[in-house]
Symmetry: C3
């Protein structure tokens, strides 16, 4: 079966997940993002690449932050952006997801940026577009269930490459609620494809997916051991709703064990960088001194995220 993300020429046609992306496609996105990074620092922060194109943000799950990053990226490419609040729309009136998609395609949509609580919804849309022969319409997964958040994965790779230049020698630790994190999944896939020397998962057993060891990841339950000699530390957001459930004793206990404090960070390499997909829970998964400290690259991640999303949209529109 052909990779649903690539067209017949092997070019990116949809961005659905990091999994299955050829290394050279990822490198091409990162290189393109590098050129777009300059656009956002110009006096007129715009290029005409998507002028007259209609980009639909279809968010079945509320996420102001992610929607905003895609809206900015699309507007800086000069696209017309239409935000659909799908929780209030026809889909709520009983129309199926694919009927909604068919309608938007009939309105001459060029691109769908899709966020959905169900894993696989963006895939479903991409499959449907192929079935109806509309390979001029593109899908970008903006996060689907626990499955994937590929633009976050890509911006994390951009960030690591920016600070560490290459991946081959790197030890990268991902810390926290890996079980529920689409970010973790995307990062692990991307790091594997780009050839990171070692990827570590640091988490209590209750917050690890069962298949984690099959992904080539080294598992630690102890921060001290897991952080030792790391080049990159990726902290994950702890969802509030996990904290008073059966999975975790308390936020305080979690912070004691898995919160990143200056003391724990000192166990990593002296030039280790600290990343976080945001929004942060200061004092829960990360100490405020670390969040604001010299090793944190959390805000540069946001800046790079705009450039990476511009790159993905620009590449898709060109293919």
């Amino acid at each position: 079966m052909r990779n649903p993300q690539l067209n017949a020429n092997g070019e990116l046609s949809h961005l659905l997940s990091i999994e299955g992306l050829p290394r050279e496609v990822i490198i091409h996105i990162l290189d393109t993002a590098s050129s777009f990074l300059k656009v956002s620092t110009r006096d007129v922060k715009k290029v005409p690449l998507l002028r007259g194109k209609s980009v639909f943000n279809i968010f079945f799950e509320n996420s102001t932050r992610t929607r905003t990053t895609f809206e900015i990226a699309a507007k800086r490419l000069s696209a017309d952006v239409i935000n659909l609040d799908v929780t209030r729309s026809s889909t709520a009136k009983g129309e199926t997801l694919l009927d909604t998609v068919d309608n938007l395609v009939a309105m001459h949509a060029d691109m769908f940026v899709v966020r959905h609580a169900a894993s696989g919804a963006p895939h479903l849309i991409a499959d449907h577009l192929q079935r109806i022969g509309r390979n001029d319409v593109h899908v970008v997964n903006a996060g689907d269930g626990r499955h994937s958040h590929p633009t976050q994965g890509l911006l994390d790779m951009y960030t690591i490459r920016h600070y560490k230049k290459s991946f081959g020698e790197l030890t990268v630790a991902i810390v926290g609620d890996i079980l529920h994190s689409r970010v973790a999944r995307s990062d692990i896939n991307a790091l594997t494809i780009l050839g990171a020397a070692e990827v570590r998962a640091i988490a209590p057993e209750t917050l690890l997916p069962t298949e984690i060891r099959k992904l080539g990841v080294r598992v630690f339950h102890d921060m001290a051991a897991g952080l030792r000699d790391c080049d990159v530390v990726i902290m994950l957001r702890l969802q509030n709703e996990r904290m008073n459930g059966a999975l975790l004793p308390s936020a305080r206990e979690y912070f004691r064990c898995y919160g990143l404090t200056p003391e724990k960070l000192a166990l990593a390499k002296p030039d280790a960088i600290v990343m976080h997909p945001g929004p942060m829970n200061r004092g829960v998964e990360i100490h405020t001194e670390v969040a604001d400290g010299p090793q944190a690259v959390i805000l540069p991640q946001v800046t790079f995220g705009i450039a990476v999303r511009m790159a993905v949209m620009g590449i898709l529109a060109g293919n």
Copy 2:
């Protein structure tokens, strides 16, 4: 009394309802839409006709789908579009509708696209604009109560003309909840003005307005009889809230009697087209095989709808 939709030169000044529109005005809109249809298939889907104009979508009733079509149409005409969520605005704070309108006019609004649960709200606004002497500000009715949905009526006429070329020989059946449908009312008016040979209403007596026979419509309670030899079948959406009320026994029973199945459709002419304003309830008013079948022109309706809305807005702004 002068037709409130036309200016002193007999040109379109507001689009409030199909009722009362001269035939040549309708034809002019359809012809203009035809030229706009090409804009949406260009690489840069934009014309500068409304550049620097301020179009306000004022939706007193939530309708993501209709708002989206107007937003796309206005943006493809290069207008600045401002969406007002009126359920959360000053009107909710006790300001009257006309005070809201006065305020937006004072902000130099050029056009209002109005959706309201109350019949006549767009008329009220148009009357007010005339009273204050602002005939440079235009109103488009995007659906008011059970009264009218003129752009839907126009896009339906565009669709029929596209597939059937002329109206004089046509038998058109409108099927379903005609009582609560502003679409049915707009379609019946438009078909009468454009001279369709026969307009049929197929519905249970409980879903027919009392005045239906006065509109020159032939009434059927039986699908088999009503569909015979039709050229065009317009299915209406069955509102969920009707189904467990006193008006209808059940969705299942409704589908058995009035749902459009392949078998029933076979009674119409072999080249009959099937239309639906969307969103569809598959398995309630329409069988999924019909919805996706070769006679359905439901998605072309959506495409034509953008062109028709661009035409209406373009014509209004020019007058």
Copy 3:
């Protein structure tokens, strides 16, 4: 301590409150607004001053009307406008206000238009921007708590200057719920800076702030005495939620004492103008005949408000 609204050259860097603005800065804003007033009457209502700039409307408190005025102003300056519904965003997920700001700055935001229920929130953001050395990012206060609503104050000054030419001879009465009004506070400050001859506050004692007399304002509890010989009457909106509280007996009683009727208005100068920040409660604080009468300049206020907001944004972006 340096005025947080001005940069090292004494130019406007943020608009946080009228208090503390030099007279010449206010005059410069009003003069600039005067030139922008013409833009909104052109066929193409746009100037390219903010082209490619990213303006974020961050409304922590819902206000469709104020948000709309800023959105129109920014779009007429050709900015990209992104509306953040902060009640549904990361801030609701526990992210701090300043983390949200840091994120948007990392996305290369150029301007924040901030509405917040808490007094001082825009100041907090401006202080933070200075602390992180980002004096290229600007804050406009769109209303914070009971504290300030500077663009409303400025458009009120624009309106008064438009009709009365100069301030030195003017008696201005502000009537109503001064205690809860950020508009009153901004107007009193502006009138003092611009040298109005006399500023009067007409209100029941329960709706007056304790410090009112320190502001150089003459207090009246009686409309007849307070309105006598006034040049300008500024009516304030009575918040519905005050009316059935302990502060006021009833809406009817309030109207009898403090509602502006034609009879009471006759006590002011014959050429006195009547202003209101909107939305009006007709029959509560203002008689409908006065609201629609020849002395009311309430709709011109709205028109001037767009020009003033364009001026503020244009000046900030230039500094």
